[in-house]
C-alpha cells in the first residue's frame, strides 16, 4: 500500500492546530497534486520537496502523487509543511519505514539541497506537540525556540538525510540537550539583571514626581500619561519602566514568546524581561492591533505583559487611538478577516507622552499657541481614552543647576537613588498583595469592586467631595484616584487606604482638569 500519514502543525493565531499530511502514490501519469486549501507558498513546496528529495539521492516516485493536508477547511500558509510532505512521500514510496511515523511531528522548510531551514511560529507548535506527547523533529535553527517548552523531546536536524537515517535507525538523531538550555536561560536572566547600568531609573536626572508615578504605575499596572515640554525626559522615563516591572513568570514568558514566534521574530532575548514596544506615530490601526488577510499580531500583542509606549500621542491619528480602547479593557484583541478569525492576547500597559500644546512650550514665553489651538490639540485624544489612563503626570524642564549637580555625582561614579532591583522588589511585593486580595492588578478594578476594596470613611468622603469641586474631577476621574490610591497603599504595605494616599493620588492628574476655562 503506497499511503503514508505524517503529522505536522499549521499556524493559526497563537495556536498551532494539528495537520496530517497524507500522501498517496497511485498508478497513472506522473503528477503531483496538493489538496486541502494550500496557499501559494505551500503549493510552491512541490518544487522544493522534489528537488530536495532528488538532491538527497532518493528517488522521486514517478507516479501520480496526491498530497492531502487535513483538516481541509483550515487555511494553510507558509513553507512549514515541506519537511512533513517530503517525509510522507519517502514513506509512501517505501524509502523510509512508515511504522513509527506517528511518534513524531515534523515542521520545517526544505532547501533545494535537502538542508532544513527554520520557520516561524515554532513555539505554539512545540506546545501542541507536548500535549500530544510526541517527539518534534525540526530544523536545527528552530531548536532553541522550541526548547523553551519544558519537557518536550526535540530532535533537531540539519538535512533530510538526518531524518531518513533516524527513521531507518542507522544514525539516530540526538535529543536537544535541555541542560544546555537551562544554562543559557539562567545566564540570560543574570545578564539581563546586571547588564546596562545605563538604562536604570536612577540614571534619569530629577523628575522625582514622574519617577514616583512610574513606580505606582508599575505596581498597579496603571496606564500612564507623561505630559510636558520637549526635552524633559518623557521618553527616557518611559523606557525605564520595563526594568522595574516584576519579571515574567514561566507561563507569561511562554505566552509572550509564542506571540513573538508567531510574528516571526524568533526567540526574545532575554525571555524573562517585559516587552517594550514603541511604535512610531505614523502607525496604522492594523499595525497597532494586528491584521492582514491571515491576521498577524500587532504592536499591542507584541507588548503583551509589557509596555506599549506611544510617544507624541496626539500625533497618532484619532481612529488609530480609538482601536486601543477595546483591548485596553479586555486584554485581548479579536481580529476578524475572511480567511480567519484570530484572538491574540493584548494585556499591555500603556505609557503615553505628549506635549502640552502644539509648539510644546506652554508656560514659557516661547509659546504663542492660542487657547483654541491648545484645546484642539488636546481634543485629539478622546475622553474615553483619557479615562483609561489612571496616572497623568506633568513633567517639568530640568533646571540647569540640577543638571550640573547630577553631573558631579556621576563623576564620582555613584548614582544616587535606589537601583532598579530595589524598586522592583518593592513592586513585586505590592503586586502579590493585589493578586492575593482581588486576583488582578489594581488597574483592572471596576468601580463596583472599588466600593468594597477602597471604602471611604466619612472624613475621606468629605475630602474627596472637596477635591471634586476644587479640581473639577469627573466621575471617572474620581475612580481613577481611588485606583491609584489603592496602589499607593499597596506600595506602602497598608491594608487600609488612608487619607494621605488619596491626597497623593490626586496629584497625578492632568493640568487641564485643574483649570476650568471659564
Amino acid at each position: 500500500m503506497s499511503l503514508a500519514v505524517v503529522n505536522t502543525r499549521a499556524k493559526l493565531g497563537i495556536n498551532a492546530p494539528l495537520v496530517s499530511v497524507e500522501v498517496h502514490l497511485s498508478n497513472g501519469l506522473p503528477s503531483f497534486h496538493m489538496v486541502g486549501l494550500p496557499e501559494t507558498a505551500v503549493k510552491e513546496s512541490k518544487d522544493r520537496v522534489r528537488s530536495a528529495i532528488l538532491n538527497s539521492h532518493f528517488d522521486f516516485p514517478a507516479r501520480r502523487i496526491t498530497v492531502n493536508l487535513a483538516p481541509a477547511e483550515l487555511p494553510k500558509e507558509g513553507s512549514r509543511f515541506d519537511l512533513a510532505i517530503a517525509v510522507a512521500i519517502l514513506a509512501a514510496s517505501g524509502q523510509v519505514p512508515r511504522d513509527h511515523l506517528d511518534q513524531y511531528e515534523f515542521i520545517g522548510e526544505l532547501a533545494l539541497s535537502g538542508d532544513t531551514r527554520g520557520v516561524d511560529a515554532v513555539l505554539p507548535a512545540a506546545l501542541g506537540c507536548l500535549h500530544q506527547g510526541k517527539q518534534l523533529i525540526i530544523s536545527r535553527h528552530n531548536a532553541e525556540e522550541a526548547a523553551l517548552v519544558d519537557g518536550l523531546e526535540i530532535l533537531p536536524c540539519t538535512h533530510l538525510l538526518d531524518i531518513s537515517g533516524h527513521l531507518l535507525k542507522q544514525t539516530e538523531l540526538s535529543l536537544w540537550d535541555s541542560a544546555q538550555l537551562e544554562s543559557i536561560k539562567s545566564a540570560k536572566q543574570n545578564n539581563s539583571r546586571e547588564s546596562d547600568n545605563q538604562s536604570q531609573l536612577n540614571q534619569v536626572i530629577g523628575q522625582h514626581h514622574a519617577k514616583r508615578a512610574l513606580e505606582i504605575s508599575a505596581s498597579g499596572g496603571h496606564n500612564l500619561l507623561f505630559y510636558g515640554p520637549p526635552g524633559t525626559g518623557k521618553t527616557m522615563l518611559a523606557s525605564r519602566l520595563p526594568g522595574i516591572l516584576p519579571p515574567l513568570n514561566n507561563q507569561q514568558a511562554l505566552e509572550v514568546a509564542s506571540i513573538y514566534s508567531v510574528a516571526g521574530k524568533g526567540v526574545r532575548q532575554p525571555i524573562w524581561a517585559r516587552p517594550f514596544r514603541a511604535p512610531h506615530h505614523t502607525a496604522s490601526s492594523a499595525a497597532l492591533v494586528g491584521g492582514g488577510s491571515s491576521p498577524r499580531p500587532g504592536e499591542i500583542s507584541l507588548a503583551h505583559q509589557g509596555v506599549l509606549f506611544l510617544d507624541e500621542l496626539p500625533e497618532f491619528s484619532r481612529s488609530v487611538l480609538e482601536v486601543l480602547r477595546e483591548p485596553m479593557e479586555s486584554g485581548e484583541i479579536n481580529i476578524s478577516r475572511v480567511a480567519a478569525q484570530v484572538c491574540y492576547p493584548a494585556n499591555f500597559q500603556l505609557i503615553a507622552a505628549m506635549n502640552p500644546c502644539p509648539c510644546g512650550y506652554l508656560g514659557s514665553q516661547r509659546c504663542r499657541c492660542t487657547p483654541d489651538q491648545i484645546n484642539r490639540y488636546r481634543g485629539k485624544i478622546s475622553g474615553p481614552l483619557l479615562d483609561r489612563i489612571d496616572l497623568q503626570v506633568q513633567v517639568t524642564p530640568i533646571e540647569n543647576n540640577q543638571l550640573l549637580n547630577q553631573q558631579q555625582v556621576n563623576h564620582k561614579d555613584q548614582p544616587k537613588g535606589e537601583s532598579d532591583r530595589q524598586i522592583q522588589q518593592r513592586i513585586c511585593v505590592a503586586r502579590e498583595r493585589q493578586l492575593k486580595r482581588q486576583g488582578k492588578t489594581n488597574s483592572q478594578l471596576s468601580s463596583e469592586e472599588l466600593k468594597t476594596i477602597c471604602p471611604l470613611s466619612s472624613e475621606q468622603r468629605h475630602m474627596m467631595d472637596h477635591a471634586i469641586t476644587r479640581f473639577g474631577l469627573s466621575t471617572r476621574g474620581f475612580y481613577r484616584v481611588l485606583r491609584v490610591a489603592r496602589s499607593i497603599a499597596d506600595l506602602a504595605g497598608r491594608e487600609q487606604v488612608i487619607s494621605e494616599d488619596y491626597q497623593e493620588a490626586l496629584s497625578y492628574r492632568i493640568a487641564s482638569e485643574q483649570q476650568s476655562t471659564r
Binding site: K211, G228, G363, E504, Q515, R518
Partner: protein
C-alpha cells in the same frame, strides 16, 4: 425702528460716507434725520456737494438690501441699535475721539450709563490671575460698578462671571457681530450675561466674523466706556496693553495688578506700572482712585456702595506641621517639585501629597507643573 435709527443704519451703507465724515457732518446737523431731511441751505456751503451726493444715494436705494438684511438679523436675536446721536448713547463713549457712530446692543441699555470699570487681561491667565479677575470683579460689581470686558478667554471671561456672581451688572464689548459670539466656548456665558440683566455691545454689524483687525478697535470701546481700566494679567505684547494705551489717550485711569517677576503674564502689568499706571493690591484702591471721577459725573441716582473688608483673614489655622514646613519652603515664585525635593525635607511621595493638600486649601497653585504660594 424710528427714523433716526433708520437713517443712521442707512448711513453706514452709503458710498464715501465714512465714520469720520459722519462725525464731521453730525457736528453741524446734530441728528441723522437732519442730514437727510433738513434744507441744504441750513448747512455751510462746503457741505453741499457731500449732502447732495448722500441724498441722491438715498433716493437710489442701493442700501436697501443690506439694511433690510441687518434689520432682519437684529430682530432675530433681539438686538437694537443706538446711533451716536441718541440719548441712549453713553456719554462716556461720546467724548472719546473716534467713537463709533452706531452701536449694536443686546440686553439692558441702561447699563451703558452706569459707572463702569474695564477689567481686562491675558487670554492665557494663571490660576491666580483668574481668581483675582473673578473676586475683584465680584467686589466691584457688588459695589455698583458695571464691569466691562471683552468676552474673550481667560481674564475677560473670569471678569464677566465674577461680576455675575457678585449679582452686579456686566457689559461685554464684542469684536464680532452682535449675533456671532466669539469664542464659541463663551456662548453660555453670553446668554448668562443677557439673562442677568447685563449687556452685549459691539460696533460691528451682525454676522461679522472674528477678524484680527477688529479686536484693537474693540478695545478702544472698552476703555472708552469705562472710568478706569484694570489690567489683571498681561504679556508684553497683548491686546490688554492696547486697551491700556487707548485708556491713556482717552484720559482714563489705568490700574495694574503686579505679579511675580518670573511670570510672563505679569510683564505687561509691570510695564504699565513703570509707565505710570496705578499699582493696585486691593480692589478698594480702585474705588478710592475713582471717587473724584465719580463725583464729577453727577451719578447720584446710582449708589456706589462698596464695603470695606475687615483686616486680612489669617492663614488657615488648621495646617499640619508638615504643611506649614512646606509652605515656608515655597516662595511666591513658582518652583517645581524637583527643586523642592532637592531641599531634602520631603520624599517625592510626601511632597505630592502635601502639595495637593495645600492646593485644596487654596494656599498654593500649580501652573504648568510648577507651584507657588497664593497667600
Amino acid at each position: 425702528m424710528d427714523r433716526e435709527c433708520h437713517y443712521a443704519l442707512v448711513s453706514q451703507h452709503l458710498d464715501k460716507f465714512t465714520a469720520k465724515f459722519q462725525r464731521q457732518l453730525l457736528e453741524q446737523a446734530q441728528t441723522y434725520c437732519a442730514i437727510f431731511e433738513r434744507s441744504v441751505d441750513d448747512f455751510p456751503e462746503s457741505f453741499h456737494p457731500l449732502l447732495d451726493n448722500l441724498r441722491k444715494q438715498y433716493e437710489r436705494a442701493t442700501w436697501r438690501e443690506a439694511v433690510d438684511l441687518i434689520t432682519q438679523r437684529l430682530a432675530d436675536c433681539g438686538a437694537h441699535i443706538i446711533p451716536a446721536t441718541s440719548a441712549d448713547y453713553p456719554d462716556q463713549l461720546r467724548q472719546v475721539g473716534g467713537a463709533p457712530c452706531l452701536l449694536y446692543i443686546r440686553g439692558n441699555i441702561e447699563n451703558l450709563h452706569l459707572p463702569q470699570i474695564a477689567v481686562v487681561g491675558s487670554r492665557r491667565m494663571t490660576r491666580g490671575g483668574g481668581d483675582n479677575a473673578r473676586t475683584w470683579s465680584e467686589y466691584l460689581a457688588a459695589g455698583g460698578f458695571a464691569v466691562t470686558s471683552g468676552l474673550a478667554h481667560g481674564v475677560d471671561g473670569a471678569a464677566h462671571s465674577g461680576a455675575l456672581d457678585g449679582g452686579g451688572k456686566t457689559i461685554a464689548v464684542m469684536a464680532t457681530g452682535i449675533d456671532a459670539i466669539y469664542p464659541r466656548a463663551h456662548l453660555k456665558l453670553a446668554e448668562q450675561i443677557i439673562d442677568q440683566d447685563g449687556t452685549l455691545v459691539t460696533e460691528f454689524e451682525p454676522r461679522t466674523k472674528p477678524l484680527a483687525t477688529n479686536f484693537p478697535s474693540r478695545n478702544r470701546i472698552i476703555s472708552g466706556l469705562s472710568l478706569g481700566v484694570l489690567v489683571v494679567e498681561a504679556a508684553l505684547r497683548s491686546g490688554s496693553l492696547i486697551t491700556a494705551r487707548y485708556a491713556l489717550e482717552q484720559n482714563r485711569e489705568v490700574f495694574a495688578i503686579p505679579g511675580s517677576i518670573h511670570n510672563p503674564q505679569s510683564r505687561g502689568c509691570h510695564y504699565l506700572i513703570k509707565q505710570g499706571a496705578h499699582l493696585v493690591e486691593k480692589a478698594e484702591e480702585i474705588v478710592d482712585q475713582l471717587k473724584g471721577a465719580l463725583s464729577g459725573l453727577a451719578l447720584d441716582a446710582i449708589p456706589i456702595n462698596v464695603q470695606r473688608p475687615s483686616a486680612a483673614a489669617p492663614l488657615e489655622p488648621n495646617l499640619e506641621t508638615d504643611e506649614l514646613k512646606l509652605l515656608s519652603l515655597l516662595g511666591f515664585e513658582p518652583a517645581d517639585i524637583d527643586s523642592l525635593i532637592a531641599d531634602g525635607l520631603f520624599s517625592a511621595a510626601e511632597l505630592s501629597r502635601l502639595l495637593v493638600a495645600l492646593e485644596m486649601k487654596g494656599l498654593i497653585e500649580s501652573q504648568n507643573g510648577r507651584y507657588q504660594r497664593l497667600k
